[in-house]
C-alpha cells in the first residue's frame, strides 16, 4: 500500500495485524535449542501525508499486543519471557521522482528516517527501544499488467543495537474486476545485522483496492535462510493482514 497517495494533499492511514512465530533458538545457522518458540502479535498503525507529489511524510507506530518467547533457564528447562506495549515510532520523509512513459509508470525514492523509542528497555523487547537514524532508497515500475519494486534501507542505532540493512525485491501481477482492482505479489526480503545475523524470507501477498478509499492487503512470509550472529530465535513465519483508508 506504499504506492498511495501519489497526489498532492493526499493522506491516509492503515492498520495491520501481524502474527509472527519462530520455532528454534539459533546460533549461527544451527538450532542450538530446538522447539524454543517465540510468538508475537503486533498491531501496526501507519499514517501518510503527501504534501506535494514528490514529498511525503510517513509515521509508523507498532503496538505489541503480546510477545512471548522461550529461553533456556540454565537448568535444562524453559524460561518464558513476555513483552507488550508500544514499540518504536518510525518517521520517514520519502522524496520521490516519478516518471511516466507510454504504458509504464514508476518512481525513484530516497528517504531519510528516524526511529524513536517510546518506552524503556527491558529483559525482553520485541522492538529495539533505541534511537535510530536511517536512509532508504527504492525503485518501482508498473505496467497495466506487471509490477516490479526494489528497495533498501540502512539503519544505525544510538545504543547497543548493531546496524541493520533491509532489502526487498517484489514482483506483482495486476488484475481488475468490474469495479475494483488489485494485485498478487511475490515478495522477498533480506535482513542483515552487523553482528553477522542474516535472514532471507519470501512469500506471497495479495492487495485489493475496493474503491477509491478502502484497500486491504494480506501477506505471508517464511524464512528461506536464517543465520543468527547471537543466540536468537529464527526459522519463522510471518502473517499480516491490513486495511487502509486514503483520502
Amino acid at each position: 500500500m506504499n504506492m498511495m497517495p501519489r497526489w498532492s494533499g493526499g493522506w491516509g492511514y492503515e492498520f495491520h495485524y501481524e502474527y509472527r512465530t519462530e520455532d528454534d533458538l539459533l546460533m549461527g545457522s544451527d538450532a542450538l535449542f530446538e522447539d524454543f518458540q517465540e510468538e508475537v502479535e503486533v498491531l501496526h498503525m501507519d499514517w501518510v501525508y503527501t504534501w506535494k507529489k514528490e514529498i511525503r511524510i510517513t509515521a509508523k507506530l507498532p503496538y505489541v499486543i503480546n510477545a512471548e518467547r522461550e529461553m533456556p533457564d540454565g537448568s535444562g528447562g524453559k524460561l518464558i519471557q513476555k513483552d507488550d506495549g508500544f514499540g518504536d515510532l518510525r518517521l520517514a520523509l520519502p522524496l520521490k521522482k516519478y516518471f511516466n512513459l507510454d504504458g509504464k509508470s514508476g518512481s525513484w525514492t530516497f528517504k531519510p528516517m528516524v526511529r524513536i523509542p517510546l518506552s524503556d528497555k527491558d529483559e525482553y523487547d520485541f522492538y529495539y527501544k533505541e534511537f535510530g537514524t536511517g536512509l532508504g532508497a527504492g525503485y518501482e515500475a508498473e505496467t497495466a499488467n506487471f509490477y516490479f519494486g526494489i528497495g533498501t534501507g540502512w539503519w544505525i542505532f544510538h545504543g547497543d543495537r548493531p546496524a541493520e540493512l533491509h532489502s526487498s525485491v517484489d514482483f506483482g501481477y495486476n488484475f481488475e474486476t468490474k469495479k475494483a482492482n488489485g494485485a498478487v505479489f511475490w515478495e522477498t526480503d533480506l535482513h542483515y545485522e552487523d553482528d553477522e545475523s542474516k535472514t532471507l524470507s519470501t512469500g506471497p501477498a495479495f492487495y485489493f483496492n475496493h474503491n477509491d478509499t478502502i484497500h486491504t492487503r494480506v501477506e505471508w512470509k517464511f524464512d528461506l535462510f536464517d543465520h543468527q550472529g547471537i543466540l536468537d530465535h529464527g526459522n519463522g513465519d510471518m502473517f499480516k493482514v491490513g486495511i487502509g483508508w486514503v483520502f
Partner: protein
Amino acid sequence: MKICTALLSIALITGSASLSANDDDKEEATVEVRLAAAKKLLSESSQISLVYVKGLVCPSCAIGIRKNLSKMEGVDKKRFRDGIDMNPETQLVTIALKKDAQIEVKEVLERVDDAGYDAIEKYKLHDGHLDAHKFKKDASVEVVHHTPHK
C-alpha cells in the same frame, strides 16, 4: 498456525487467480489500441472529453486523477465514477460533461500533473476521423490527424 497460514495463502492465490481470470484479454497499451479505443468511445458516447494520460497504468495509484478532475466545473458526477472513467490499458481518461459544458485545457494539465501524471492530448472525431489535440506547455493545442489501423 503454520498450517493455517499455508492454507490461507493457497486460498489467497486461488482467489486472486479466479479474480484475474476475468481479465484474460487485458492488452498492454499501444498507440493503435489507444486510438482505436478513442474512436470507439467518441463514436458511442456524447458529452465526453477524452484525454490520453501518459503513465496511467495503475488504477489505485491514479485515484488522484479522478479526485482532481472530478472537482472541475462542468463534470457530470452522475456518470461513471464521480464523472471520471480511467482505463489503465489504453491510458485514456474519459471525463463525463454536463450539457454544453467545456473544460479548460490549462486546468486539465494542472490537475493531472498535480496527481503525478502527464496529460498528453485529447481526442475529437472530425468527419469520421480521429483528431488528436496535443497539449503544449502553454496550454495551447496542436491538432494532429490520426487514422487508426483498426
